[in-house]
Amino acid sequence: MVLNTDVDQPILEVGEFYQLLTAHLEAGFGRRRPHWVRGEIAKVYEKGHVYVDLVDAGTASSDTKRPVLNAHCWATPWAPLKRRLAAEGVTLKAGMVVSFYGYVDVYAPQGKIGFSITEIDVEGLLGDVARRRQELIARLAAEGLLDVNKRLGLSAVPLRVGLVASPGTEGYNDFTGQLLNSAFSFAITLVKTVVQGDAAPRQIAAALAALDEYGVDVICVVRGGGSKGDLVCFDDEQVARAIASSSTPVFTGIGHTGDESVADLVAHTRAITPTKLGEEVVALVARWYETNVQAPAQRILEASDDVVEEATAYLAERRRTMIFAVRDRLRGEERHLASTRQRLVIQSGHLLASATQMLASNRQLLAAYDPARRLAQGWSVVTDSKGAVVKSLADIASGDDVRVLVSDGTFGARVGETKESE
């Protein structure tokens, strides 16, 4: 075997080799001169520093010849980068296509030629995150999962509330405050979960399944406001599918106004904040209460008043009518009696006058036969010793003593000779 070697080249020690390599690389790339490199994250590992295996996007992991760039970001530059990414809800994950800004780095102790990251194209990453989100929404829509939970019927009185939340958080307190301060006795069944971070999607999905199994009227997923990064777990496919597969209506109150997660899109009902969600659940019960308790009570009250008023008016009217009817009847009788009395008085007067007149007439007639009048005319009345009027010679005899009545007195006389009239 003939070795094709350049005898003029010195034999290098390993260290010298790396120095030469480094010199060549720096000659080619410039010392620590930064470059942009784009690729798909094949593997990511973080332990203070972050280590990323970057490959050409779209290449298969089974391709053993695909180039891999071992990139790393030391803890010092990584900390602010991580914060920025977290604020936007981005976590470096395998499959992401990302552009790193950095420089070639030779690390002789491990024999590695790598890439030291100093900057990440966050905007680009966000675009990628957004694209993935849209792709998830499109997939859910294609499978008909965006509306499946919305089509579930709501309990008429959703008092049994399943709650997926982190106790003690602002969102939890805002939501439960609305329910507990309402006039209704809500039965809240809480399944504690973290509501941010990598563990959140799995826990939230498990909590949804557990509450669906347990049996509640409505499941409420609650999380207060935060950065996009805090809320990114609610864009997770696992959470979206758990909501879609729930046989219980799922309500969401996530973040604050303006936030709309994939969970919100899949949920039965979405409120813009936990407080609003609490208000909405209370309002559902309040509407039922108003329709089924308050309104009938109002109608009963009004109808009851109407019946009592009507009966009162009826009795008052009957009482008046009776009084007037009896008075009329009595007045009628009084008038009749008065009229009769009057007629009797008038008739009596007539009778009396007539009798008086008759008596006067009779008196006049009788006056004509008055003996006094005859006596005054010179007539006299003779009575015997017994006082009997002498009407015939047969009543007396000569020598009898008689008494003679004249107009102004009497005197005694004795019967002399008697002689019959011719």
């Binding site: 006039a183 009570a297 009592v308 009966a311 009162t312 009776m322 009817a325 009896v326 009847r329 009595l330």
Partner: protein, 69 residues
């Protein structure tokens, strides 16, 4: 007189009033009918007062339901 049935009693009362309206009441019957009508009215009023009292007692309870929000 006790009123077991409001409508029945009211019917009898109405009949008495009608007999007055139609002038069918003789003087002999007047007192009897007036006495009967008075008894019915007083009995109905007593019953109504009891009902009112019960309504007044229940009204705040129903109103509480209405006022509850």
């Amino acid at each position: 007189m006790s009123v077991s049935d409001w409508n029945e009693a009211a019917g009898e009362l109405n009949a008495i009033v009608a007999s007055f309206d139609e002038g069918e009441v003789s003087v002999d019957d007047l007192f009897t009918k007036l006495e009967r009508a008075t008894a019915i009215i007083e009995s109905l009023e007593e019953r109504l007062a009891l009902t009112k009292a019960k309504v007044d007692e229940l009204t705040p309870r129903i109103a509480r339901v209405i006022d509850d929000e």
